[in-house]
Symmetry: C2
Subunit: 208 residues, 2 copies
């Protein structure tokens, strides 16, 4: 089935459904009901039905979902069968932390390469290397890269963003603490870590 856009909350639960389904033993049978899934995850039944409707057809009456099929559908939805390749620009501390973050692949994205304004290539561990910016265009073109992550400072973020757009990148995840302008049609998601912390601090200040 066609992928649909789901809420962050649903997206966050999908790996949990997957883990639960994979943990089922053969003696649990071939099908599972929404009620049984809801119970295992301490979720509401309506919630489970709604979440799974985004990735799968409805379960069969009285039988529920065919387990193997549902596992495949969730894996497909999360992109396990075809990871989206992404590139990252800015191999400072945050960039390097993201490069080594293993959770991305569990959610369907793989950082294929990192680039840095520093023109010298940098080797990190065994897997990922940092390439000079002069190779950005050819790498993105050859790899059909559509997703870019910006972890450079505020001063060079817009320039990097423009180059990414020029390379055909259609979705940008920006960690630089500034507003970027992108052409209409390009998705931009700003990650303001300070804002998350401020939100927690704000709750703390109002806490007893």
């Amino acid at each position: 089935m066609e992928k649909t856009t789901v809420s962050k909350a649903t997206l966050g639960r999908l790996p949990e459904y997957l883990r639960t389904l994979r943990d089922l033993a053969p003696e649990d049978g071939t099908h599972i009901s929404a009620t049984a899934i809801a119970k295992k995850l301490s979720l509401g039944e309506v919630q489970v039905r709604k979440d799974l409707a985004a990735v799968s057809g409805a379960g069969k009456p009285k039988l529920g979902y065919e387990i193997g099929e549902l596992i495949e559908e969730i894996e497909h939805f999360l992109g396990y069968d075809q990871l989206t390749p992404a590139i990252l620009v800015g191999a400072g501390k945050l960039g390097k932390a993201l490069l080594q973050y293993r959770e991305f692949e569990r959610y369907g994205v793989k950082i294929s390469a990192a680039f840095d304004l520093n023109e010298k290539p940098i080797i990190i561990g065994e897997k990922t290397e940092v390439l000079p910016m002069s190779q950005l265009e050819s790498f993105c073109r050859d790899g059909h890269i559509r997703l870019g992550i910006i972890t450079v400072g505020e001063g060079s973020a817009q320039e990097v963003c423009d180059r990414m757009v020029g390379c055909g990148i259609e979705a940008i995840w920006n960690f630089a603490p500034c507003k970027l302008s992108v052409p209409s049609g390009v998705l931009l998601q700003n990650e303001n870590l300070a804002l998350s912390l401020a939100h927690l601090n704000n709750q703390l200040c109002n806490h007893n």
Copy 2:
């Protein structure tokens, strides 16, 4: 006035209001209307009134907000006059990136010290040093620390969380990709970076 809990969206706009107000020239006068602020920031007037109501009294009819007073009120709300001290446990790449992130202070939080399960103290730059875990309790007690940031791996996150709670920490910002349990009364905010990226990827997959 008492601090109130505001939405993340309002919180994110407060530094922008502050910048706008500070940029006003003396010839702009002593007061500014919600209409004028809204215009400068391309926001709706109702939005501006609502945001500012969280931090300030209402502006005076026909005059608007007294500029100096409003600046002070926003600064106070964001904690500029009294930064909340926080500690961080886990000085890996992500931890070090957060330690060097300057934006936190703009939103009222200062990371006072970092700790690592590795018992050797580590010096980073000039300002912040990484202390051994054996000093966690005394540091938190002496500094009246209420806010803790977890950047250790999944395997040790719950143990670190328990120690933080034992030290009197009341709000925890967790970057480890796992569920933590905290006693009721302790605020827990999970930061799942993979989920943010997955959300963008999900939109990208449905794009065009």
